[in-house]
């Protein structure tokens, strides 16, 4: 049999899927044990129990100074910023994307500008941004918006352009005005695609959030990692990274569920 025709069975598939995770985990344990053998105070690869203790403290002990449970207050702060940033970004992109995609005048006006703007690396303008937007919540949210909106905008413009011309013509022959066509034909078809764009933007959004929190914040997951980096507290950093990864994963699943429940027609239409 050709290699490309060999399929693992159901159980084989499951075993294969978890194998890399198990291997990574085992490799970590081995490396950590080896380093602690050589130096019991090793900070680079903390043992599981060291991480557990650190996380227990972060999650279930009130912080002396602020009286908060740090893991949860950090998570709440970061997620709030993430959601605010992505919501604003989505809203702007949606309105701009649809208008630009539909109105030829706007398209000529804004497409080159948005294209040029999306080439500006947001991290390079970070020093400028913080000075302009201040260091309050606004600047963090703004960084997320600047980082994700140009992409979402361009994506939505493309998606609007992908609507078959026949559909728009058809809507016009049914008596629709520009505004009505936007409202009844384009907006409802773009909503599930906005969710797709949001899913693609989640990764960059986390990135910008972490960068922003590293520079100006008093709480947040990125702030904490940045703060304890000076002490090289890997026993906090590693669980935080895993936690962020898990959150990113949950966000992605949530968006996918929203998409399939709110827009039952979408999967079928896309596969046609």
């Amino acid at each position: 049999m050709r290699l490309i025709n060999l399929h693992p069975g159901k159980r084989g598939s499951k075993i294969l899927a978890i194998l890399p995770f198990v291997l990574l985990f085992a490799a970590y344990l081995a490396a950590s044990a080896a380093r602690h053998e050589a130096n019991p105070d090793d900070k680079l690869l903390p043992t599981l129990s060291q991480m557990a203790i650190a996380m227990r403290r972060m999650a279930f002990t009130q912080d002396m100074a602020t009286g908060q449970f740090l893991l949860w207050s950090d998570t709440a702060a970061s997620i709030t910023r993430l959601i605010e940033g992505l919501s604003i970004s989505a809203l702007i992109s949606f309105v701009v994307g649809i208008s630009v995609g539909m109105v030829p005048y706007l398209k000529k006006l804004l497409v080159p500008f948005v294209a040029a703007f999306s080439m500006v690396p947001p991290l390079a303008v970070l020093p400028i941004l913080f000075i302009i937007a201040g260091i309050g919540e606004i600047s963090k949210v703004t960084l997320i918006v600047i980082g994700t909106a140009p992409f979402m905008m361009r994506d939505l413009i493309l998606r609007v352009e992908e609507i078959p011309a026949a559909q728009i013509i058809k809507a016009q022959t049914l008596g629709g005005s520009s505004w009505q066509i936007a409202l009844r034909i384009v907006v409802p078809q773009m909503l599930p695609r906005l969710i797709d764009a949001l899913r693609l933007s989640l990764g960059p959004a986390w990135l910008y959030l972490i960068s922003a929190e590293a520079i100006a914040a008093q709480d947040g997951l990125g702030y904490r990692i940045f703060l304890v980096r000076r002490y090289f507290a890997m026993n906090i950093i590693i669980p935080y990274v895993i936690w962020i990864t898990l959150l990113a994963f949950l966000f992605d699943i949530a968006l996918r569920l929203i998409q399939s429940y709110a827009f039952p027609w979408f999967a079928g239409a896309k596969s046609q």
């Binding site: 680079l44 912080d63 002396m64 100074a65 602020t66 020093p127 913080f130 000075i131 201040g134 260091i135 929190e213 590293a214 520079i215 100006a216 914040a217 008093q218 702030y223 940045f226 703060l227 304890v228 980096r229 000076r230 002490y231 090289f232």
Partner: protein
């Protein structure tokens, strides 16, 4: 009428941790209320950002070093007055070599350092004192947050950095602290500066800040359980614990009383220090483009002495408010 509102920005550093703690304890509000103003104490995680924002006019007051005050706000045309001389680094900043024990061994090495920071000033002074110049070494700009991790990698053999990172690195077996700020005492100063325009119009802001500062120092430096608790909480705020904070405090010379601070500020050593600093900045092109000499900016001292251009004074050391505190006139 609404109260006038002022902002003080701070960053995580052992000598500045009293500020957020005082805000949490209500000491800030107490003094602000006394002068009928509002004071907001704002944390910025990144020190350079805090300076840039102060310079572009977003804060009224800032915790900063003497060197950075000259290099950024003063050169940027923002007239600033230092009202509190809080501490000087007394071992907090250090040159650390891996596997070598003498400062002289630094020759030819690649040094990881936050360039254009007080670390570079320390390094320069060290090189000067040992008869070398920066041409004898190579600098690699490295973010302070990653210095500790960097030191663990084999290709990093020399670093210049500040606390708490110095302590992290000193704990390493191969690390040798070959030169530190305790060998140039009084040269790396941590100040509170206020925009001079704001200060002229609102001296009560400076009074309140001095009141807050010395009340807080009084609590944390006393030999009581409260002091220990205060230090532990400050430690926590900076991401460590009591022990960690206390050991950092050992290498920080806090001017525990306003008298001592005022005296130091009026003293002649400060003038000599600032001259070193401006020569250093000039040599590295940090006094602005087209600066023809170190004299382009004027630095005024409590005695009225001015270093540099008397027509362009942008950095003023003021001992008046510390003296008022000492005299219980607040």
């Amino acid at each position: 009428a609404t109260k006038k509102k002022f902002t003080l920005a701070w960053t995580v550093y052992v000598g500045w941790m009293p500020w957020p703690w005082a805000a949490q304890q209500g000491i800030v509000k107490k003094w602000a209320d006394k002068y009928g103003i509002e004071i907001e104490v704002v944390q910025v995680s990144d020190y350079a950002t805090s300076i840039n924002q102060y310079t572009s006019g977003m804060f009224d007051a800032l915790t900063i070093t003497n060197m950075d005050t000259l290099a950024v706000p003063a050169v940027g045309g923002v007239d600033s007055t230092s009202i509190i001389t809080g501490d000087y680094s007394n071992g907090n900043d250090a040159v650390i070599l891996k596997g070598k024990t003498k400062f002289e061994d630094i020759k030819g090495q690649k040094i990881n350092i936050v360039q254009y920071s007080v670390s570079q000033y320390l390094l320069d002074r060290g090189l000067q004192l040992h008869g070398m110049t920066e041409r004898d070494v190579r600098l690699v700009n490295t973010s302070d947050a990653d210095m500790a991790a960097a030191f663990l990698t084999p290709d990093v053999t020399a670093v210049v950095t500040w606390n708490p990172i110095v302590e992290q690195i000193d704990a390493d077996k191969g690390a040798h602290n070959v030169f530190n700020s305790s060998q140039i005492p009084g040269e790396i100063l941590d100040l509170v500066i206020v925009n001079s325009k704001t200060l002229d119009a609102n001296p009560e802001f400076a009074k309140a800040l001095c009141g807050i500062w010395y009340e807080t120092l009084g609590i944390m430096l006393s030999d009581t359980p409260e002091a220990k608790k205060a230090q532990a909480e400050m430690g926590q705020l900076s991401g460590t614990d009591y022990a960690g904070f206390a050991s950092q405090l050992k290498t920080t010379h806090l001017f525990s009383s306003p008298e001592k601070a005022a005296d130091f500020t009026k003293g002649s050593q400060l003038i000599a220090t600032m001259d070193h600093v401006r020569q250093f900045l000039f040599a590295w092109g940090m006094l602005g483009q087209g600066a023809a000499s170190p004299n382009v900016v004027g630095i005024e001292f409590p005695s009225g002495h001015v270093l540099g251009d008397t027509k362009n004074v942008k950095f003023r050391f003021n001992a008046e408010y510390m003296a008022m505190t000492a005299a219980h006139q607040l």
